[in-house]
Symmetry: C2
Subunit: 139 residues, 2 copies
Amino acid sequence: MSDLLERLRGRGWRMTAQRRVVAEVLDGEHVHLTADEVHSRAVAKLPEISRATVYNTLGELVSLGEVLEVATDKRAKRYDPNAHRPHHHLVCAQCGAIRDVHPNGNPLADLPSSERFGFTVSDVEVTYRGICPNCAAAA
Amino acid sequence: MSDLLERLRGRGWRMTAQRRVVAEVLDGEHVHLTADEVHSRAVAKLPEISRATVYNTLGELVSLGEVLEVATDKRAKRYDPNAHRPHHHLVCAQCGAIRDVHPNGNPLADLPSSERFGFTVSDVEVTYRGICPNCAAAA
DNA sequence: ATCCTACAATGGACAATGTCTAAGTCAAAT
DNA sequence: ATTTGACTTAGACATTGTCCATTGTAGGAT
Ligand SMILES: [Mn+2]
Ligand SMILES: [Mn+2]
Ligand SMILES: [Zn+2]
Ligand SMILES: [Zn+2]
């Protein structure tokens, strides 16, 4: 995710300790944190970082297309740094664990024009739900 | 939706003015209201109905499988009385209008086991996004 | 028709999530 | 080193949702 920081510097972003920390927290695979989780982890690295800054920074990253907002649970939005390769999500209905998945086929092609109601359809999100191996083992 | 009231009576539901009003508000096609919208419309019919009762009733309807919770926008949950025929959603990215859609194919079959990470996958939600005819005309 | 009581409704406190602003701070250009 | 406007902060406020003690009532029993 240091390439992210590079790209942002190139776009005229002022590089602050807070933004570096948020970027660090978002680094990794299968990362889908809520704003509050991002804040907690950021505070561990930079105790004085404020909630508002985390929200602001996440919002900016979303506007820039560097992070995606996903709504896999019905409470808080989650922030997904894997914005470059399109993908969908597989969510454990029990513990909420989230994995990135790449299904076959193109769901957009499966929506016939008779089911489009005159909309110009440009995008599709797919969320699979099930039980993860951990939760299955604990049952 | 009077058949809904019948089914609920059969399940031992006490029939109250409040529950009748909530059921009335949820009647119709392509209905996907937030709890607050349900409350507003219910108040128009029964001014003294409380927010708590609307939340309680919606929660009960969801537990009974008579209404679905959907998360097509990233703020409030929406309540969908079309719980009997499985379907997906088409959402206007501009105005938020929601239509029920029935795509071809089965997205569950498109998730190969190599992409299941040991999960037992049981369900899939698909949300199409685009621009509705109204918003396109206004542009 | 009246009574009883378990179930339901109410209002308001509280919690979780998200937005906004005024004032102070600091990155980076000069 | 100075300057400047972008950035951060704390906390008020807004929205969405939950909980609980109290009050009300639907529907069965008499
Ligand atoms: Mn993802
Ligand atoms: Mn629907
Ligand atoms: Zn799990
Ligand atoms: Zn629209």
